[in-house]
Assembly symmetry: C2
Homo-oligomer: 202 residues x 2
């Protein structure tokens, strides 16, 4: 509070975004007040209005910022992939699973956005899914994966499993016989990879 107060608009915007992200992720948009955000990052409520205009605009800015980083991370991950084979998909699932595990804020932000019916983040994912399902299609054409399933649905399946595993973590933590993150991921991969493999009957 009593720091030299160097005036840096970009830094201040960043601090506001960070505080807002933490609170929105934790409690959702409606349950967070501008006063809380202001207090958390040591700034006046008026200043947030000065930089972002309104609470809604701040919410949009928070989501845009977080999802842009998410999309960037995922896209670089996808693009450095080389040949399309089973190992590629397996590694992709592991990477995605670990990304969500290490970025719980993204998971929750996506969940809040889903409930709000926000469609903008869906557009962002569309490009990633397109890239991913294209890899699956190539692996199908190479005769490694069965080709009687929609490649987009293949991507959907593991995305849903990974996402909801972390979304509902507190929910199923007490389920009897449930294992750790890694144990579940490995069991899912066993089922998923064998389920995708091509057999003689295909």
């Amino acid at each position: 509070m009593n720091e030299p107060q160097t005036r840096d608009a970009e830094l201040t915007r960043g601090r506001i975004l960070e505080a807002a992200l933490d609170l929105f992720v934790d409690k959702g948009f409606a349950d967070v007040s501008m006063r809380e955000i202001a207090e958390r990052c040591g700034v006046t409520k008026s200043l947030i209005h000065h930089h972002f205009g309104s609470k809604d605009a701040l919410w949009e800015a928070v989501k845009e910022h977080a999802f842009a980083m998410y999309a960037l991370d995922q896209k670089t991950e996808l693009e450095q992939a080389t040949n399309a084979d089973a190992k590629l998909l397996r590694d992709g699932v592991v990477k995605y699973f670990e990304y969500l595990r290490d970025n719980p804020k993204v998971v929750r932000l996506l969940a809040w956005s889903h409930l709000e019916g926000d469609e903008s983040c869906g557009e962002m994912d569309a490009e990633l899914v397109r890239l991913g399902s294209e890899r699956v299609r190539q692996t199908q054409e190479a005769g490694i994966f069965r080709n009687d399933v929609n490649p987009t649905h293949v991507v959907c399946t593991f995305v849903h499993v990974c996402t909801h595993w972390f979304e509902a973590r507190s929910h199923h933590a007490q389920w009897p016989g449930i294992g750790s993150d890694d144990e579940f991921r490995d069991d899912f991969l066993k089922i998923f990879m064998r389920g995708l493999a091509r057999t003689d009957s295909d």
Copy 2:
């Protein structure tokens, strides 16, 4: 509004619960006001307090009521199952998928509860998961399913896929190449059932 106003406490409680459910499902707990609920079901705000005590208590009552019906539906579905084989699990997945499709309010209510960190509904599901994974274990012992995966994780997998498919529906509606509910369900089942099947190498 100007109806004869027959005084029926139980009916009034029911109407309040229904209006509150609709609004909470739509906008979440924090973004719904007691005034809105009162207006929607044509009673005074004070009357809601009279019957339920507080907004928090109403929220708990809404969840308790909705989840009790959900648990009842699922349990009767599970208990009428007979012999444990692959078809039983397949039918179980189809039933669960269709249940969520036909009860979108339950899906959203569960999602809000997850984000709030509500643990009470997890306890409810624990019993259902225990029943389901027991069936899977039996099918493993019968030599039909592979036995190198945790039965609870098998149940988790399809629950996550079904739940998140409907939770994120608005999100992935615009994904390229995505199919209908039924098409996705069938593709998932292809992968899931083959992934679980026992092979010679097991």
